[in-house]
């Protein structure tokens, strides 16, 4: 049986060393869980990914919960989720406690200003990859553009949760 410590370790390591958010963790998780450790068969892993992408919440936590639950039940799910959350939590807490010097320190400030265009590029790339992976028909892109224009025009008056719900409803009716 896989120990809780081993489960925790795998997810803690991936949470600690993966840059680029939860989506970037999927290939690393696959390498560890399917190939190196052989804890999860490939087919099951792909099912986990598919479900994680269509359920609420950060994909990394969805994945961790799934793997933990399948391997060691409820406790396993909590152990893996905590494993993937803790590195983020600790690192950000450390940064946040010194963050008031961020903008007063000339070099840190220069570093931050320098990487801002990269952050913009990463977000732009995310828009394209999410669209490519998730929108099944060409007019989905048109609908997306329409929603973008609505958000830009109506701003705060538009309830974003309702926008997603309406978009989901549109999907039910139109995607075949």
């Amino acid at each position: 049986m896989i120990s809780f410590l081993a489960l925790f370790g795998v997810f803690f390591k991936i949470g600690m060393f993966t840059f680029g958010g939860g989506q970037a963790m999927i290939p690393l998780l696959q390498k560890d869980l399917v190939v190196n450790l052989a804890w999860v068969p490939m087919k099951e892993f792909l099912d986990f990914v598919a479900i994680s992408e269509i359920t609420p919440g950060p994909v990394a936590i969805n994945m961790a919960t799934f793997v933990g639950y399948k391997l060691r039940g409820l406790t396993g799910a909590l152990v893996t989720s905590l494993g993937v959350i803790l590195p983020s939590f600790i690192i950000i807490l450390i940064i946040a406690t010194v963050a008031h010097t961020f903008r007063t320190n000339r070099w840190v400030s220069a570093f931050l200003d320098g990487l801002k265009p990269v952050v913009l590029a990463l977000l732009t790339y995310a828009v394209f990859t999410i669209a490519k992976g998730g929108i099944p028909a060409w007019w989905g892109y048109i609908a997306s553009l329409g929603i973008l224009l609505l958000i830009l025009k109506y701003g705060k008056k538009l309830n974003l949760f309702l926008v997603l719900l309406a978009a989901g409803g549109l999907g039910l009716l139109m995607f075949r």
């Binding site: 919440g57 983020s88 949760f161 978009a167």
Partner: protein
């Protein structure tokens, strides 16, 4: 030059009510956002900047940049960061739990009761529709961020180069792009005349 002080602190002065509100906001966002952390950014901005005025735009985007360039899920990074600056350590714990609990709960429910969830054709269609909305929301953030970026020749080249690498060189870790951008920023700062020091030398 007066240093920009963007990240403000209310940590330590936060009321219990505000800490609970932090939990609630991140819980709501975590519950109703499908499509991962990126899909949550615009909603976070709505609540934190526009509705409660806890953060200024610049502060929010500073935190977003830091959340994106540190390891781990962006949603967790943002929750911890916002939670700490708005509600101290307890605030950071509550916000992080808020964004995480729905993700854990929904997977346990699906694993227990709906193992064939993703094979349902209606679920698939609904999800594809939601993604259409999610893409529009992230695009909104991209446009807003692009508008606020101080565009110089250097920042435009860095952005274009990063995009080129992301689109045409596969499997590149974002950490190299981030470090590259940061180094460009530092290089510019090295060659920039530093006014206070120059003034001191002159006198």
């Amino acid at each position: 030059m007066e240093p920009k002080k963007l990240i403000t602190y209310t940590a330590g002065h936060a009321s219990v009510r505000k800490q609970l509100l932090l939990f609630w906001i991140f819980f709501i966002i975590g519950t109703f956002t499908i499509g991962g952390g990126y899909a949550m950014i615009l909603m976070m901005k709505r609540y934190l900047v526009e509705q409660y005025h806890w953060l200024k735009d610049e502060e929010f985007y500073d935190m977003l940049a830091i959340s994106q360039v540190t390891p781990g899920p962006i949603a967790v990074n943002m929750a911890t960061f916002v939670g700490y600056t708005q509600g101290g350590v307890l605030g950071s714990v509550l916000a992080t739990l808020g964004v995480s609990i729905p993700a854990v709960a929904v997977i346990i429910v699906i694993a227990l009761f709906f193992p064939d969830f993703k094979d349902n054709v209606w679920v698939q269609r609904f999800f594809a529709g939601v993604i259409v909305g999610v893409v529009a929301q992230i695009a909104t953030i991209v446009l807003d961020l692009g508008k606020r970026q101080k565009w110089t020749i250097v920042s435009a080249v860095v952005c274009a180069a990063a995009l080129g690498i992301l689109f045409f060189v596969h499997q590149v870790s974002p950490i190299w792009l981030i470090l590259g951008g940061g180094l460009v920023g530092i290089t510019i700062e090295v060659f920039k005349p530093h006014k206070p020091a120059a003034a001191k030398r002159a006198s």
